[in-house]
C-alpha cells in the first residue's frame, strides 16, 4: 500500500494515522488532485469538514488557521483516502468541488454557514443550517457560545451572550 497516489510535487505532507492514509496538498491543486483521485477509483465522496485551528492545543503548530478535510473511498479496493488543505484566515476561500463530486454541494454550504469558508464556483452558496438572517459563523472558535448567563455558575461574569458584529 503506497502512502501517496498523487504526484510528489503536489504533496506537501503525507502519512498514515491509525491505518488511514492522508495527504496535505495546496489549495491551488485541490481540483486537479480530486479529479485525479476520482479517476483512480476514489469515486465515493464520504464527507468534507473544516477544522478551526485557532488556539488548538496541538503538538505541531498548523500552518494556517483553517483546514479542510476531504474523505474519499474506493468502493472496489475497500480503501479510504483523506485529503487535507490549509486555508489562511485572511483569505478564507477554497475552490468548489460540486461538479466533481455532487455531494460536495451541501457540505460546502454547511462549511460556509459554520466556518465562513467561501467556495468559489459554488452555484448557490447560502446558509443551510442557521437562519438566513444570521450574523457570523458559529463554529469558529472566536464566536461566543451564546445563550443566557446562568446565575451562580462559574462563568457567570464572563459569559458572552450576543453574537459579534458581522
Amino acid at each position: 500500500m503506497t502512502t501517496s497516489v498523487l504526484p510528489d510535487d503536489t504533496v506537501l505532507a503525507s502519512g498514515v494515522l491509525a491505518g488511514q492514509e492522508w495527504v496535505t496538498i495546496r489549495r491551488e491543486d485541490l481540483r486537479d488532485s480530486m479529479r485525479a483521485l476520482k479517476a483512480q477509483g476514489f469515486e465515493s465522496y464520504l464527507f468534507m469538514t473544516c477544522v478551526d485551528h485557532l488556539a488548538t492545543p496541538v503538538v505541531e503548530k498548523p500552518p494556517e488557521r483553517f483546514e479542510l478535510v476531504y474523505q474519499l473511498r474506493d468502493m472496489r479496493a475497500h480503501r479510504e483516502y483523506r485529503v487535507r488543505v490549509f486555508i489562511p484566515e485572511n483569505d478564507a476561500t477554497a475552490p468548489s468541488l460540486h461538479d466533481i463530486y455532487a455531494p460536495a454541494n451541501w457540505d460546502e454550504r454547511e462549511t460556509w454557514d459554520m466556518f465562513g469558508i467561501a467556495f468559489e464556483g459554488h452555484p448557490d452558496l447560502i446558509r443551510i443550517l442557521m437562519p438566513d438572517d444570521w450574523v457570523g459563523h458559529p463554529l469558529r472558535r472566536d464566536f461566543p457560545v451564546g445563550g443566557e448567563p446562568v446565575d451562580f455558575s462559574e462563568d457567570h461574569e464572563t459569559w458572552q451572550t450576543a453574537p459579534p458584529e458581522a
Binding site: 443550517l129 442557521m130 437562519p131 444570521w134 464566536f143 457560545v145 445563550g147 443566557e148 453574537p163
Partner: protein
C-alpha cells in the same frame, strides 16, 4: 308545560349550574393536543403517554391532531431551535381559540443543557405557556399530571376569553 309540572315529571333529576362550568367541563375533558414533537421529549410526552401503558385517553386527550387547526393544546416537547421558533409560533397562531400550551421538559422550559446560540432559552419567549413540566425527559405520569392541572385551569376559565 309549566315549571311546576316539569318539576313534577322530572322530580329530583334536575341540576342547575352556570354556562361557564358546563363549557369548561366539556373543554377540559376533550383537550386535543397537536401531534407536534420537536425532540426526544416527544417519545415520552406524545407516543408513550398516548400508548396503552399510560393511556392519556383516560383523560380525554388521546386524539392527537396532525393539523394545528384541529387542536387546542400544544405540547412543546423538546428543544426549540432559533430556526424552528418562527415555525412554532406560526403553528400556534394557526390553532383556533381557546388554546393552551404545555412546555414539556427542561429544554422547552429553559433551554436545558443547550445554553448556546442555536437554542431558544425557553419557549415562553414566543408563546404563552400554561403549564411547565420539569424533567429530562419528564415521565409520562408527569405529562398526565400536567394535563390534569391544565384541566383544572380550563374549568376555572369557563367562558371567559383568554386575557
Amino acid at each position: 308545560m309549566g315549571v311546576e309540572q316539569l318539576t313534577e315529571v322530572l322530580g329530583e333529576n334536575i341540576l342547575t349550574t352556570t354556562l361557564g362550568k358546563v363549557i369548561g367541563w366539556g373543554r377540559a375533558n376533550s383537550v386535543w393536543p397537536a401531534q407536534f414533537g420537536l425532540a426526544c421529549c416527544a417519545i415520552e410526552g406524545l407516543m408513550h403517554t398516548a400508548g396503552p401503558g399510560f393511556d392519556i385517553g383516560r383523560f380525554g386527550s388521546e386524539a392527537m391532531r396532525a393539523s394545528p387547526r384541529q387542536s387546542d393544546l400544544m405540547i412543546v416537547a423538546g428543544r426549540v431551535s432559533q430556526k424552528m421558533a418562527p415555525v412554532l409560533r406560526q403553528l400556534y397562531d394557526q390553532m383556533p381559540e381557546p388554546k393552551w400550551v404545555i412546555s414539556m421538559g427542561a429544554c422547552a422550559s429553559t433551554g436545558g443543557v443547550f445554553n448556546n446560540y442555536a437554542i431558544l432559552q425557553g419557549v415562553d419567549k414566543i408563546v404563552p405557556v400554561d403549564v411547565y413540566i420539569p424533567g429530562c425527559p419528564p415521565r409520562p405520569e408527569d405529562v398526565i399530571n400536567a394535563l390534569m392541572i391544565l384541566q383544572e385551569k380550563i374549568k376555572a376559565q369557563g367562558i371567559r376569553p383568554r386575557l
